[in-house]
């Protein structure tokens, strides 16, 4: 009997073209978004390789030049290392699955540059790209990826499939006909669910598979077996997500008398789950854990640095004092750095607390759990960003150490020892040139660790353990919505 009802439901959806429309909607959306995303991804890749080869170009700019006077004696030489170092950057290659779920990928793709070689060591500041480099065309109409399509469109689609499931039958009078015969309410519920869910899941699945196969044949995307597994998991989680909304649709449909009311009530519920709860989570967390803005933190850092400099100036007056982040008081340098680091750490802890609180609050909606699971699987989630930041810090320390080592050895290298006697100008000249070249050679070598940085990403098992809470929550949601649908159908009015 369940099977009969399911078949009837599916057939009905087919005849009224609902399945066709759903299929066309899914395929058009997915194909367009995937094609655009693939195009954008290959552009990003070529930008990435172009930028890296640019930096290799820079190594050649570190050149020696020597000025020779009338007697052929070298008197000056050098070049401006500081200028060149500003433009060397660290770049990260976008992950392939960002074509499906953009997530936080953009935040991890800004080039990071070293500023001001004078500030060596752990306090080497890094600048984070330039706003002019972001594509403004995308700001007004943000790109639509697979995640967005499923999160918004498919859940809306589900609502519009399910809203007339019970209420529609009640309006046309066929509900009391069915139930007055030997069809139990439970059979009705399961039959409706199976038939309706199949009529939606089938076109969705077919559309997704076609789109994914298209992506697979694209030249710029190279997915390993782990990548395919991730995609399969994403599809599975999406199917669960659709089922959640389907049960909600059936529940509301059973409870309202007219289907027109049901659809509006469902829209309201959808808005609360998809828009209100996620946004509110962040807002409430912001009120509870107060972190001052970036600007205020910067001002605090500046004031602290200035204060320490003023104190140092009082103790050891230097004559030409100009305040500015410890640039002119080298002895206060380490004290300033420690103070700034302490400020930064204090606010970092607060930020983390605020983030985890807001994540917790957003989890009151299945939409949030869905989003976290999918971006996690696509390697563009919050945990991936955390790993990116820690990798960045480690590399920064490593590179800074390297830079310091090079600087200290460059000036004390063997090529600087034992200058030949000044009476022999040509030998002196040759000695100078050799020393300069060796120094610049070691500077060049300094960039090799920078240029060969490849970012580590979270493995599949690490991803799964990171998103396990959200996966669990989705299962809980399915259970909850199933129970409410059952209760609603069991107790609903027949006419």
């Amino acid at each position: 009997m369940i099977w009969l009802i399911a078949k009837k439901e599916f057939h009905d959806n087919w005849i009224s073209h609902k399945i066709t429309i759903a299929f066309v909607l899914c395929i058009v959306l997915l194909m367009v978004s995937l094609l655009l995303a693939l195009k954008d991804y290959s552009e990003r890749l070529s930008s990435y390789s172009l930028s890296r080869s640019e930096d290799a170009l820079f190594l050649d700019r570190i050149a020696t030049y020597t000025i020779v006077d009338k007697e052929g004696i070298a008197t000056q030489g050098g070049s401006n290392i500081g200028d060149m170092i500003d433009t060397i950057g660290i770049y990260r290659r976008s992950v392939e699955l960002s074509v499906l779920a953009r997530g936080l990928d953009d935040r991890m793709n800004r080039p990071i540059r070293f500023l001001d070689i004078r500030k060596l060591g752990p306090q080497a500041e890094i600048s984070v790209g330039n706003k002019q480099e972001r594509n403004k065309l995308l700001a007004l109409f943000p790109p639509v990826d697979f995640l967005f399509i499923t999160k918004v469109m498919v859940s809306l689609l589900t609502i519009l499939f399910a809203f007339s499931a019970i209420a529609g039958e009640r309006e046309t009078g066929t509900l009391k006909l069915m139930l007055s015969n030997s069809v139990s309410r439970g059979q009705l519920l399961l039959g409706k669910f199976l038939g309706g869910y199949a009529s939606l899941a089938a076109p969705f699945l077919v559309a997704v598979l076609i789109a994914v196969l298209l992506a697979a044949f694209s030249p710029s995307v190279a997915l390993g077996s782990a990548g395919w597994l991730r995609i399969a998991l994403m599809i599975l989680v999406s199917l669960v997500y659709i089922a959640v909304f389907f049960f909600i649709g059936i529940a509301v449909s059973a409870l309202t008398r007219r289907s027109a009311t049901a659809v509006l009530l469902l829209l309201a519920i959808w808005i609360v789950l998809a828009l209100v709860v996620p946004n509110v989570g962040w807002l409430v967390a912001k009120q509870i854990v107060v972190v001052p803005s970036e600007q205020q933190i910067d001002t605090e850092k500046f004031k602290t640095a200035r204060q320490i400099e003023d104190e140092t100036e009082k103790k050891h007056p230097s004559g030409s004092y100009m305040p500015g982040y410890g640039q002119y008081h080298v002895e206060a340098q380490s004290e300033i750095n420690q103070a700034l680091k302490a400020i930064e750490e204090r606010y970092e802890v607060l930020r983390q607390k605020r983030l985890s609180l807001s994540r917790l609050l957003t989890r009151f909606s299945p939409v949030s759990s869905y989003v976290y699971s999918i971006v996690g699987l696509a390697q563009t989630g919050i945990e991936d960003e955390v790993k990116y930041h820690s990798f960045m810090k480690q590399s920064q320390i490593r590179i800074a150490d390297e830079v310091e080592r090079v600087f200290s050895t460059a000036f004390s290298s063997e090529f600087r020892q034992n200058p030949p006697p000044r009476e022999d100008p040509h030998a002196y000249h040759a000695w100078r040139v050799k020393g300069d070249e060796a120094m610049y050679d070691s500077f060049r070598k300094m960039y090799i660790p920078v240029l060969s940085l490849t970012f580590e990403k979270l493995s599949l098992s690490e991803t799964l353990s990171a998103i396990r809470l959200d996966l669990l929550l989705l299962l809980v949601w399915i259970g909850l919505t199933f129970v409410s649908a059952t209760l609603a159908v069991m107790n609903c009015k027949v006419r």
């Binding site: 706003k131 700001a139 109409f141 027109a260 509006l264 962040w282």
Partner: protein
């Protein structure tokens, strides 16, 4: 007779749960987001004041940072406000660059903040569709269309009644919602909207009415075409999805294909090559001057002066060259963006978004005007300054930076184009609905 039909349509929608839901949604969403966004605006204003003070302190002979005052309507109608330049760093040795701020909240990327453009553009248009989808097909299914038509009621009167009655019942909750939003904003203790701001808000309000009528007319058109309401609503969802998601998102790619410009990385490359060339030149000049000093046994300050001249020439040349490259590129980007906006205007949603952004001052054109103003200020501020700092120069009084956002009239002028396209669409859907209804069956 027309008035009776209008009355019936209006009351029919009004006295159902449908209207109550629409009212709760509109008023709730708009009021809450107006409240939240107003708070955001006050925070941004406070941040702006702190920034201006800070930048005043650290301004020097060779560097100054200017800020753009946050627009009151920018938090309600985001446009590109979150991505646009709000602080520009001007220094003598390079072209004006925007100061970057790191957004410390990853959730704002995963769950984009909801502004009024979104609520009106997405949610209210969905409401319009859900009010209209069963206007004709629902009556067809219930059998009442056959009943009415078999009486001496003219078809045109019927369709007019449906349009007007249904539309009134739709915009009532939406207007109440927007009104609540306006009240929330005006009673906020720290927000001061000027006359121009309220004017812009009122004009956007008119745009909202037009936008909703567009989708409502579309809903009635599709409803007249299909025999079953559940098919009608899905078809409408499809068209809505095309309008809101597909067309606006495809337009940047099409614009890129139609009007090719070099990528950001390629642009960076050409800037680097220019700098390399200039550095080579500097090196040669440096060598030349150094030889001059050595061979002529010049004094210390003469040689210092020569070297400084070389440096100054280099820095000026570098800055001018890079400025030109950047502004050329920016002009090309702007043109591409205009083409993209034009293509996107096929979608009513895009028309409304563009209209609201242009009136609120959060479109690319307004940002461009700000950047142009900073460039003018750059010349003013650094007039007569030596690029290479010589100790002992007294710090002169510098003019302050002021930039007025474009007036309401200018903003309206730039927003007329998408508004007229919206009008065109509405007229098309109305005519289409009329024609189809007149020829459609009664069951």
């Amino acid at each position: 007779m027309l008035r009776t039909i209008i009355g019936k349509e209006f009351l029919e929608k009004l006295l159902t749960l449908r209207f109550a839901m629409a009212l709760i949604l509109s008023v709730g969403l708009v009021a809450v987001s107006a409240f939240v966004l107003s708070n955001d605006y006050t925070h941004e204003l406070k941040d702006y004041n702190t920034r201006v003070q800070f930048h005043n302190e650290i301004a020097s002979e060779t560097m100054v940072i200017v800020d753009r005052k946050p627009l009151p309507l920018a938090t309600m109608f985001h446009g590109i406000a979150k991505d646009s330049a709000s602080s520009m760093r001007l220094s003598t040795d390079t072209y004006p660059e925007s100061e970057e701020t790191i957004d410390d909240n990853p959730l704002s990327v995963l769950f984009p903040t909801v502004d009024l453009t979104f609520i009106i553009g997405v949610v209210m248009s969905l409401l319009a569709i859900l009010f209209a989808y069963d206007a004709v097909s629902g009556e067809r299914e219930a059998g009442t269309l056959a009943l009415i038509s078999s009486n001496p009621v003219k078809r045109p009167m019927l369709i007019f009644g449906k349009w007007i009655g249904g539309y009134l019942s739709l915009i009532l909750p939406c207007c109440l919602g927007l009104l609540t939003g306006a009240i929330v904003v005006s009673f906020h203790p720290m927000i001061q909207f000027t006359g121009a701001d309220w004017g812009a808000f009122a004009l956007i309000f008119l745009g909202v009415l037009l936008y909703l009528s567009c989708f409502f007319a579309l809903g009635i058109l599709v409803s007249a075409l299909t025999s079953r309401s559940s098919t009608a609503v899905l078809a409408l969802l499809f068209i809505w999805a095309l309008s809101v998601f597909i067309v606006p998102n495809v337009s940047p790619s099409m614009a890129k294909a139609l009007y090719r410009i070099p990528s950001f990385a390629a642009q960076a490359r050409s800037m680097n090559l220019a700098v390399i060339e200039l550095e080579q030149q500097r090196r040669e000049e440096h060598t030349e001057k150094a030889l001059e000093v050595i061979n002529n046994r010049l004094w210390w300050d003469d040689s210092g002066r020569l070297m400084r001249e070389v440096e100054e020439r280099f820095i000026n040349a570098k800055r001018d060259r890079l400025s030109k490259l950047t502004s050329d590129y920016r002009r090309k980007l702007l043109k591409q963006e205009q083409i993209s906006a034009g293509i996107a205007s096929i979608s009513p949603y895009a028309c409304f978004t563009l209209f609201a952004a242009r009136l609120a001052g959060t479109d690319l054109g307004s940002e461009d005007k700000f950047i142009a103003a900073t460039e003018r200020y750059y010349n003013e501020y650094f007039e007569g300054t030596s690029v290479v700092f010589a100790p002992g120069n007294p710090r002169e009084e510098k003019p302050a930076f002021s930039h007025n956002e474009p007036a309401l009239g200018d903003r309206l002028r730039s927003g007329i184009a998408p508004l007229s396209i919206l009008l065109l669409f509405t007229a098309l859907f109305l005519i289409g609905g009329y024609v189809i209804f007149l020829r459609s069956g009664v069951k």
